[in-house]
């Protein structure tokens, strides 16, 4: 049985078919999650933000006119919600983060020998690169989107997406080539 188009699922969801809405969200869940993670990392707020994203999508579906793809529309909601939380959080915790950064610098030598999992290193490297590159990489790997799909979601040309991904990975590679990661790698 062929999968229905997004537009068909949207139309059914607008007729109060909650199953159709659920299918729609299921289809784009990884993309929305990747978009939120690219802004918030693995913070505790991700869960709440994801719920808010789907609530907003549910409540705002009547306003979706179909000018853009549903994935683009959902991506924009996800990104806006994540940025909103991120900016609030930044204001609330700026002092604490400053202290943590200072403490982190003080113990930099210890960090080099501290054992971290491969995933943590990758998450850390992702956190250091430009947010646009990070978003493209998360969509590519976490959401398993093609360059063409990412191009539509982020509303940029395919070539630009490729550049984002390549530059992002090059930056990550530079970060991961630091002695700490390599030392950790040699242990594992």
């Amino acid at each position: 049985m062929p999968h229905p188009e997004d537009s068909e699922l949207v139309a059914r969801a607008l007729r109060q078919d909650e199953r159709a809405f659920r299918d729609l969200i299921q289809r784009h869940h990884a993309m929305a999650y990747a978009a939120v993670r690219s802004v918030l990392g693995d913070r505790d707020e991700v869960q709440d933000v994801m719920q808010m994203v789907y609530l907003k999508a549910y409540q705002g579906l009547a306003g979706f006119r179909g000018d853009a793809r549903f994935s683009t529309w959902l991506y924009q909601i996800a990104r806006r919600e994540a940025l909103d939380v991120s900016s609030k959080r930044r204001v609330e915790t700026v002092d604490v983060e400053t202290v943590e950064l200072a403490a982190g610098a003080h113990h930099a030598a210890d960090a080099a020998t501290h054992e971290r999992s491969e995933r943590e290193w990758i998450a850390s490297a992702l956190g250091e690169i430009d947010e646009t590159y990070r978003t493209a990489i998360e969509l590519r790997y976490m959401a398993e989107k093609s360059y063409e799909e990412i191009s539509e979601i982020m509303s940029v040309p395919v070539g630009t997406v490729k550049t984002y991904v390549h530059r992002g990975k090059a930056e990550m590679k530079r970060i991961l080539s630091r002695p700490a990661w390599r030392a950790d790698a040699s242990k594992s």
Binding site: H29, G60, R119
Partner: protein, 197 residues
């Protein structure tokens, strides 16, 4: 990884990143890289780092949790008893399901109930009230334009009395102009509110 890459290695460095994207390297470039890596320690190390990075990035696919954990309320069928969770907007979704209203009606209702919508309704009501009672308002100004009020007050009162007695076109024009400007502004604010909500 060595920081002293020669010019040749810089070319391969870019190719190593592209290696893991199936369509980004030509077969000739792949052959070149295959031939170079065994002969160059820094490129071999670079390839190993990139390979590990790619594997770790691929593993992020499994980090995506099931969608069910994010749809605690919406996933329940319409009309079914829904659990009341701690999510802030759960009530909003429950009411959407319970009313069974058309989405466009709901959007219109949300617009009306927004601060801008309420302002528009209040202003419209005030404007209609003022138009309806314009004669009485004029009489109040006549009364207040007695000796107790200043010359300026007299002028204003006389103007309004004149308007209310005969030339309602001026009064209507003023009302229409002000209403168009205010309603236009409020309409734009409402549109933005609805789009953002």
């Amino acid at each position: 990884m060595s920081n002293h890459l020669n010019q040749n290695c810089e070319r391969f460095e870019a190719m190593i990143v592209a290696w893991f994207d199936a369509d980004d390297l030509s077969s000739v470039e792949r052959d070149d890289l295959n031939a170079h890596i065994p002969t160059c320690a820094s490129c071999r190390e670079s390839f190993e780092v990139t390979s590990r990075m790619e594997a770790a990035l691929m593993a992020r696919r499994s980090d995506v949790p099931a969608v069910d954990s994010f749809l605690p309320v919406i996933s329940a069928p319409v009309g079914a008893v829904r659990p009341v969770g701690a999510v802030r907007s759960v009530g909003a979704v429950r009411s959407v399901g319970a009313v069974h209203a058309h989405p466009k009606l709901l959007a219109a209702f949300r617009a009306l109930m927004s601060p801008a919508g309420i302002s528009i309704m209040l202003m419209s009501w005030t404007a209609m009230l003022a138009l309806h009672f314009r004669k009485q308002i004029g009489e109040v100004f006549v009364w207040t334009s007695s000796d107790r009020f200043s010359a300026l007050g007299n002028d204003v009162a006389n103007l309004l009395v004149t308007i209310s007695r005969g030339d309602t076109h001026v009064l209507t024009g003023i009302y229409v102009a002000v209403t168009v400007v205010v309603l236009g502004s409020m309409g734009l604010i409402t549109l933005r509110y609805v789009r953002n909500s």
